[in-house]
Symmetry: C2
Subunit: 177 residues, 2 copies
DNA sequence: CGGCAGTGGTTACAATTGAAACCAATCTTA
DNA sequence: TAAGATTGGTTTCAATTGTAACCACTGCCG
């Protein structure tokens, strides 16, 4: 597994050149220290584990579960409202909703005031599932957070906010440079 | 931002109610505070921004770029070695490699000692691209990290390690419960 | 009213991803 | 050295996801 035999610790002095021309060569990128990469690996590990748990027990995908999580707290939302709350896109919401309806986890009713809108709610069954799944989710959260100290938990919270804001900037203002 | 109003700090003491019936209702889950969700949103934002940058400038996908990043530091790896280094799976590596070869970014040569293995390396062109893309990646990294203090950067580093280890446990020991 | 821009939501299609089957070479062991 | 197990890597097929086009309805403006 962890055979780091080839890990050349030090900044690769490929040739041991004294020649300044060599200065053009950029430092190597250490992928395992590269934040975007680490975030991606971490997020995938966590999401996959949880997705397995949800699907094994409730036959729910993550997008579907997210929709339920929001509807559990905020009844009578439309799909557009969900888009706003979840940072998922239209299509993902639409698909999740249609699965949930097929499973009778949520109900859909027309909004008489605006007949384009559809008002969504957890069904009896859906609330049932919701109430069993929330503790499960919290258990995962607690287990993750349990590996951190109280200080670290607070730090993480504010760090994530900052990184999120910066990444959001990228999307808005266009990319760097 | 940091509104912890509903954070019931203590381990949910489900009892303590005057009306036991009511005890059945779980606390709502606040998706926007749920770590797996936040990680996923953050990671996606970051990855998408960077993927755009790479593909716009070098016609590279993220998996392909990762392969190049590793080969830039460690020449003469096989696909299996790459699997180990990148936490990507066989198939993803195989696909990335075949794209990179088509683009003449890497070369593939048979390993005479073991004719199943193929030894991979950056081509001239590939190293060229590598040397231009590394600074770009570092720029993104710096920009992200720039939103944090030096302390926070260190904290983040160790927090990620801890979370990663915990999530890894899940995968190994099987899920919680 | 009549048209036309904007919104809510779904459908259709292409690209990406994942899982399992697969081929070929090597290693093991009898 | 032959048979089965293992390893390196690719292919195939299904599921997931993203993008763009689309339909139905509303709201606005002449």
């Amino acid at each position: 597994m962890t055979n780091d035999t080839t890990n050349s610790e030090t900044h690769s002095e490929t040739g041991a050149f004294s020649d300044p021309i060599d200065a053009v060569r950029p430092d190597d990128l250490r992928l395992e220290k590269f934040l975007p990469y680490r975030l991606s690996v971490l997020s995938n590990r966590v999401s996959n584990a949880i997705a397995d748990a949800y699907s094994a027990r409730f036959d729910l995908t993550i997008p579907a579960w997210r929709v339920m999580a929001i509807l559990g707290r905020f009844p009578n939302l439309s799909a557009a409202d969900l888009v706003e709350q979840t940072a998922m896109d239209k299509v993902a919401i639409s698909r999740a909703v249609s699965i949930l309806i097929k499973n009778d986890y949520i109900t859909r009713s027309e909004d008489l005031a605006d007949r384009r809108r559809q008002v969504l709610n957890l069904s009896e069954l859906g609330r049932d599932v919701y109430e069993r799944i929330v503790p499960l989710a919290q258990q995962y959260e607690n287990d993750l957070m349990g590996s951190l100290s109280a200080d670290e938990r607070n730090q993480l919270d504010s760090i994530i906010e900052k990184l999120m804001a910066r990444a959001q900037d990228w999307a808005n203002r266009g990319l760097i440079d």
